[in-house]
């Protein structure tokens, strides 16, 4: 019976705790500026991105990529890298990226 009960197991969603659990970069802050960017990211994900349909072509998403870039490359270089990613987020050159079979999105992780 235990095996059968797993067939239709649906758990109630708890959105607020999800963002911090889902995105590792949010929890990796070394100074106040990084905390500010993490806060902006959480706010964006919670109030703006949550109302959007799937529009980003990449995995990780542009916002997550920008957050990682700011944290690893500093504010100026990280933001420039984030803007560069936004200009590439258009699905016009899918042949240049590998496809993630799970999400069916183009893979473009941050490389230093």
């Amino acid at each position: 019976m235990e095996l059968l009960s797993e067939l239709r197991e649906v758990k109630e969603k708890k959105e607020p705790s999800k963002i911090k659990d889902k995105y590792e970069a949010v929890n990796q802050n070394t100074n106040e500026l990084q905390m500010l960017f993490s806060g902006l990211f959480i706010g964006y994900k919670k109030f703006i991105s949550s109302q959007d349909a799937q529009n980003c072509s990449f995995t990780p998403s542009c916002s997550e990529y920008a957050l990682q870039a700011v944290k690893q490359q500093g504010v100026l270089r990280g933001m420039l890298n984030g803007f560069d990613r936004l200009t590439r987020c258009n699905s016009l050159s899918p042949e240049k990226y590998e496809l993630d079979p799970e999400t069916q999105l183009l893979k473009d992780p941050l490389t230093l």
Partner: protein, 281 residues
């Protein structure tokens, strides 16, 4: 010379003290391992015993299939339930095997095959078997999502068993009614007309108000652009953003309603399983 003597001594010693396990002991070991939850050991022991046995009984094949079932290898379990079924002569035991086989198909989410298996149940003169068959069919149709057939089977089952007032059934009916009341398309169209209302309709206040605030803000920005610049500029700059978040909102309203249905159906299903747990053994 010393080495030869040592080897001889060891060989003689081992021949005195070690005895091979016979088939009955191997079966006993297999069953002990099954009870302890050591499925791999149990499987190895059963297969070893079957290999050395002259004639394997249907009961042994059923036990082997049970171990595969418990270990999560349903394909192998079904294969051995089939062998057991054809080796068995007792019609009651044949029924038991079929019920187990249909449970294995349910685990594989192969609902049509589970229903096909249940047709082999011989329930002509056995009311209990007939009721069990109806219960299994009820579960299968529910999991399959064929709710018309499910309702038909459930009403037949409850009429036969006379369990109208049972708590689990009442709970099941409560969740079922809640699931039936939810209309994903209504939520979607409400959010098309008034953003956020579809989410609020089914209790998702946070996303509903969020969507309402976001789209209202974009409409205000749109009007501001018309006032400050021009209609064309407002259409080119703000409208794509409005369209994007408006569409996201109404699709999310539909998704939210569908998730709610899944949640209620899950609860209804759990109550259905608890209705007569003994039936699933």
């Amino acid at each position: 010379m010393q080495k030869i003597l040592f080897v001889l001594a060891i060989s003689l010693f081992s021949s005195w003290s070690v005895f091979s396990q016979n088939v009955e002991e191997t079966y006993q070991f297999a069953e002990e391992q099954l009870k302890l939850g050591n499925y791999n050991n149990s499987l190895l022991a059963f297969e070893r015993a079957i290999f050395f046995e002259d004639h394997t009984s249907a009961d042994t094949y059923t036990k082997l299939a049970d171990v595969y079932f418990a270990a999560g290898n349903q394909e192998r379990a079904i294969r051995f339930y089939d062998i057991a079924y054809f080796s068995e002569n007792d019609p009651d035991l044949k029924n038991v095997i079929i019920f187990k086989k249909s449970l294995a198909y349910l685990q594989l989410e192969n609902y049509d095959q589970a229903l096909i298996s249940l047709t082999s149940i011989n329930s002509f003169q056995n009311k209990t078997v007939a009721q069990k068959k109806t219960f299994y069919k009820t579960l299968t149709y529910y999991l399959k999502g064929d709710f018309a057939s499910y309702h038909e089977q459930l009403s037949q089952y409850t009429a036969d068993q006379n369990i109208e007032g049972k708590d689990e059934l009442l709970l099941h009916n409560k969740w079922e009614k809640k699931a039936a009341k939810i209309k994903p398309n209504l939520a979607m169209w409400m959010s098309v007309v008034l953003p956020g209302s579809g989410q609020i309709l089914y209790g998702d206040w946070q996303n509903g108000l969020n969507s309402l605030a976001l789209t209202t803000g974009l409409i205000a920005l749109y009007i501001n652009y018309i006032d400050q610049f021009s209609l064309i500029e407002a259409y080119l700059v703000v409208f794509p953003w409005f369209e994007r978040y408006h569409k996201g909102g109404y699709l999310r309203a539909k998704e939210n309603a569908e998730e709610k249905i899944d949640l209620y159906r899950s609860k209804a299903y759990q109550s259905l399983l608890k209705l007569h747990p003994a039936m699933l053994k």
